[in-house]
Symmetry: C2
Subunit: 459 residues, 2 copies
Amino acid sequence: MNIHNIDGTLADTLGDRRRRLAEIFAAPVILWSGRRSPRNFAANTFPFRASSHFLYFAGLPLENAAICLEAGQLTLFIDDPSPSYALWHGEMPSKEDIAQNIGADAVLPMAELSAHLAGVATIPVQDAATWTEQTQLLDRWVLPERPLAGIDLELAKAIISLRLVHDAGALAELRKAAAVTVEAHKAGMAATMNAKTEADIRAAMESVIIAENMSCAYASIVTTHGEVLHNDRYDNTIKAGDLLLADVGAETTTGWAADVTRTWAFGKFSSTQRDIYDIVLAAHDACIAKVHPGVEYRDLHFLAATTIAQGLVDLGILQGNAEDLVEKDVHALFFPHGIGHLLGLDVHDMEDLGDLAGYEPGRTRSDRFGLGYLRLDRPLRPGMLVTIEPGFYQVPAILNNPEVRTAYQDVVNWERLAQFADVRGIRIEDDVLVTEAGNEVLTAALPTKAEDIEQLVCG
Amino acid sequence: MNIHNIDGTLADTLGDRRRRLAEIFAAPVILWSGRRSPRNFAANTFPFRASSHFLYFAGLPLENAAICLEAGQLTLFIDDPSPSYALWHGEMPSKEDIAQNIGADAVLPMAELSAHLAGVATIPVQDAATWTEQTQLLDRWVLPERPLAGIDLELAKAIISLRLVHDAGALAELRKAAAVTVEAHKAGMAATMNAKTEADIRAAMESVIIAENMSCAYASIVTTHGEVLHNDRYDNTIKAGDLLLADVGAETTTGWAADVTRTWAFGKFSSTQRDIYDIVLAAHDACIAKVHPGVEYRDLHFLAATTIAQGLVDLGILQGNAEDLVEKDVHALFFPHGIGHLLGLDVHDMEDLGDLAGYEPGRTRSDRFGLGYLRLDRPLRPGMLVTIEPGFYQVPAILNNPEVRTAYQDVVNWERLAQFADVRGIRIEDDVLVTEAGNEVLTAALPTKAEDIEQLVCG
């Protein structure tokens, strides 16, 4: 853990977050950072990832630590390293140095935590060792998969109201993640013509992230089978005629994420690929043009759906009026997911709290085909960061389903669709900050136009 | 999960392992594969890593599955994917295809597991969801951190007796991991003169592993501060005069690991760096020359210690007779860890079982300085794969300790040592297979001689 390159404004940023929390939440709060999860044995762990709620208020990925927030004051609980720690892991910064860096008012060993638990609210941490400790110390169930209740639910709502709107400290980190992610995608495009497999392109992209001392915010998708939405295989060979869909995002050392998708051809797009690409890009551009305070994010989803439906009508793949087709969920045959989600410390920001963050109070998920996967249904506010990620996919599990083919036989021209067999999956995704004036695309440095992408791929 | 590129001998290899287990262990065995561990929220997980014991007998990294082994028969327990699975994760091979690939005699859904639990032995899996399930289903504590007892302890001993000695199927995978690891190190050396930070070199090395669709078997160490034994920071800049220590190893898709360390200069070694490098290399070569069936691994540790002590006496850093110095643990001031460990499905093979695998029955860890970190104390047998990894480190926590300086004031020439300040840490590590005739270095394609390494670095 390195605290030396943290800029001097961290303590100010964190102090401001604490004071704003204190204004809307009165009870004392304890947030645990979490522990490493074992991989194949206890000493061989996955990389440490601190709880996002801890990171928001403590700023640094401290292992096995906790913070108490009360009336704007910060107490850090952390132990001195064991005597053998320096041999294996190097000198740690002192507890006092860490405390000063994050503006803590006091620093105590973890054993003192038990004397500070009266009436506290908390949020469950993902790793079992930590939620077990939370449960034991607080003498009530604190489980990640259990819906929050009582004082913990009230805390979650208060934290959501802060984390929904990014402050300057958060934006500085989010811009770093976006910039490195843009470079990773450019490296992937540049590596394509010499790549043999998907894994070669993944390596080129992730090595940019590793070289910047960042992590992948989520499991990279780098695939010629973009129709598999969360494809986690990279062993297909790449050949002429393939489309490559890459959904790869960096995460800074203090936990802030980017989430970007581009789709490119091995060389140049075929005319059928280009036709569909331009439809998805039209949906992408139309949505971003509408991102503005007060706009309902759900309306952007329907705007993307209508734009895609209209494009498919124009190509002769769908028949009818675009609005009518969207009302019948016909677009979802090809665009079965939502238009995007919140982005912040988590790639689906605050999804550990279920739909509490993504859905405005009183709203719930739809059971309509496609719309059920919409992760965000709120009016946009300045400071919110969202993804805009329309797509077109030919998913065999959907399109080869005899019931689907019968149900939609009048609106889909299956013979015409068959001419677009070289388009398995296309998605174009950017990270869009809502501003007072409208929006700013944090990942705008990465081209979206087909000809610009072809130039990056072909050199 | 891809079963299509698994070669046709897998079922034979697994059948042989089952039959050998049945010869030495009579009770039925159930081994769980485990589940993904959540990272920052439930849907954003760390990469899946199946339990090594499961992989040994089931061959494939199947998620949330179990196998029953009884009298040489294999029953696979696994569920069909949910209806939405194909949309998000693609078509799974069928249960029946998987069963055929691994030579299972029957395949059943996970819910059937509860009817097959009478008198079974098991080994705890690392992730909490799975050991909780093991504990509940078997109605007794099955906890990774708890010493094994009863039937589970007997099973562990039986599995150890198999996994200690690698069969042809294991060796084929271990050779793949070694070959990719060699290429990763060469890439790191080649990237050095254009690298600005440790992270640049780490990126060059790990991208070779990613491009081969493998994982890192452990957190890479790529550092100018090799004296921090498990350094997990990569943010130091690299400059003339630095040594770079890289301990990086690949793991194949079915879980078999390599573990290799090289140390190189930014350009050419200084004369002081070269002096110490050649001492460590002499220890490395002397140990490997002695790897032979019947040799006590612990004796190799002392051979390395004596070789290093003699080298330091020759340089005037230590004073006295090498054997006497080793008896007084003086070598451990500079070589505080053990000469190596078992290697297989785990980078410290079977360390999830504590010292059961590493230590011959009846032997226990020493409390002598340095020797306490020796992870393997058994006579070598054909088919065992071990690392040989001597090192020299100037650890401030050891060498700046006033008690240490007083205790060793007569044997260490501190003024002479100060002339070697540009040597913070050197380690040279290879993976050595014990053969009937002696040994085979699986990682021999990677040079160890200083001048050969300089050539790879400087081109």
